[in-house]
Amino acid sequence: MRFLSLGVLLVGGFYSLSALASDGAALLQRLVQAERTQSFSGTFVYERNGSFSSHSVWHQVASDGVVRERLLQLDGAAKEVVRVDGQVQCASGMLADQLTDTQLRPGRAFDPSKLSQWYDLRVLGDSRVAGRATTVLALVPRDQHRHGIELHLDQQTGLALKSLLVNDKGQLLERFQLTHIQVGEMADEVLEPEAGCRPVRSAPAAVQPAQAWSAQWLPPGFSLNSSSERRSPASDESVACQVYDDGLARFSVFIEPLNDATAEDVRTQLGPTVAVSRRLKVVSGDVMVTVVGEIPLGTAERIALSIHSPGEARP
């Protein structure tokens, strides 16, 4: 009898645990669906260490399923982006000056089942954002190689109204928060860009990177998303660039020849983004490996240490 009740307790506990986890996955799935099906407009604020800005967002889902999105910064310079189905139509000023052709294709879709491998999905409770009832979903990293995320999801539509990035010490790295949202259809005119929004002219990228650099170590769950080559921002050298992600967090690796230039190793952090530079000795001349991404500093350093040119890969 006692064993039976214990068994019931265990099974019941297991079910409630898995129910909680599936709750989180269901919320994420609903978020993905909501962004594809829900039209809305509103204003949001973005805050990180040293920066605070407010923006308008118009997100229109047409009857044929085409998603049009217009984003406009409301303070300072009027930075603007218009996207159709994830493809950038136009961008103002320098918002897209560092892009190459290969980087303009839409990225991977948000995959809740993959994310739950690397993040513990926890439903923390209820809250209120932009005057609407929300459910708080925490994505707690399962290892030390990524930051935690707290999502406040609208209970009515499933949209994310607030998103916080938190490091392992519980410090807030950045905040994205809607202050006002209007759900429903909108006039087509509001999606028209201003004059400052210019068609994106991206720098031509080499089709195939000349030299395939490889990371000997990657944090679990991260995989190569794209690889490109472009000109250095400061010289005529060619810079190899690789982008990795775990379905949520992402980092870029830049490899630029040094040509006997003197440059120290550097580690720095700008809000949620870290940058770690390390000199790498190769036969053809030293290169500087720079890892930039929304990942913990220690992880970025370990990645930077693990980058090797193909001919010199360690066993």
């Binding site: 962004e35 973005y46 990180r48 260490n49 040293g50 920066s51 605070f52 800005s53 923006h55 967002v57 984003l71 910064q73 303070d75 300072g76 310079a77 009027a78 930075k79 994830g86 950038v88 961008a91 000023g93 320098m94 918002l95 897209a96 000056d97 560092q98 892009l99 980087q103 303009l104 839409p106 990225g107 991977r108 879709a109 948000f110 994310a160 998103s163 994205f176 794209s226 250095s232 921002p233 400061a234 982008v243 992402r250 870029s252 830049f254 040094l258 440059a263 120290e264 550097v266 720095t268 952090q269 700008l270 809000g271 949620p272 940058a275 530079s277 500087m288 720079t290 930039v292 991404g293």
Partner: protein, 197 residues
């Protein structure tokens, strides 16, 4: 000894010109109240001439004399306490040695830390301005397009290797995320925040 000679000697002492004989003469007349009064007057005159601050009524000598008068005269030390006395002296000497050694040690440590700090400062550390520009209102935003980088160098006048590249790297990373994904507004806001100063 004439009063005039004494006053001449006093004047010489004051001007730091007195010879051995004059100094002895003045010291011998130490108890003379008139000489003391003259000495004080001379001090006031000199202070006025040199525009020094002076409290003329401050008579440290008499205060010290009075304090000494109140002090009980030193008594003969009992022989049995001699050991303790010398032990005490030893202890004092030992503690002085320890203090000196400790001081040297602390001093050296300070020096090492100082050197380390200097070395750290000498490295080209990237400093990221935490507010939009120096001596500027935190919330201030120019409406003009800002092409300046969010990463700037400290120290060296000319931009270093990293200062020329890291801002572009950061922006490229953010823009790829903002333009190449369906993740909504957050990556865009990140990229936009890098663009402003």
């Amino acid at each position: 000894m004439s009063r005039e000679t004494l006053q001449e000697s006093l004047s010489a002492v004051m001007d730091n010109q007195a010879d051995e004989l004059e100094l002895r003469r003045v010291l011998a007349a130490n108890g003379d109240p008139e000489l003391r009064a003259t000495w004080m007057r001379y001090q006031v005159v000199r202070a006025v001439m040199h525009k020094d601050l002076l409290e003329p009524r401050l008579d440290i000598a008499s205060a010290v004399s009075a304090a000494l008068a109140d002090e009980p005269p030193p008594t003969a030390v009992a022989p049995q306490r001699g050991i303790w006395r010398s032990a005490g002296r030893l202890a004092v000497a030992a503690s002085v040695t320890v203090a000196v050694l400790a001081g040297v040690r602390f001093y050296n440590q300070d020096e090492i830390t100082g050197v380390q700090l200097a070395q750290q400062a000498a490295q080209p550390v990237l400093n990221i301005p935490q507010v939009s520009g120096p001596a500027m209102l935190v919330g201030f935003n120019s409406t003009a397009e800002q092409s300046a980088s969010p990463v700037s160098a400290v120290g060296q006048g000319q931009p270093g290797w990293h200062e020329q590249r890291l801002p572009a790297y950061l922006r490229q990373h953010a823009q790829q995320a903002a333009m190449g994904t369906n993740e909504g507004a957050l990556p865009y806001a990140r990229a936009a925040s890098l663009e402003s100063r």
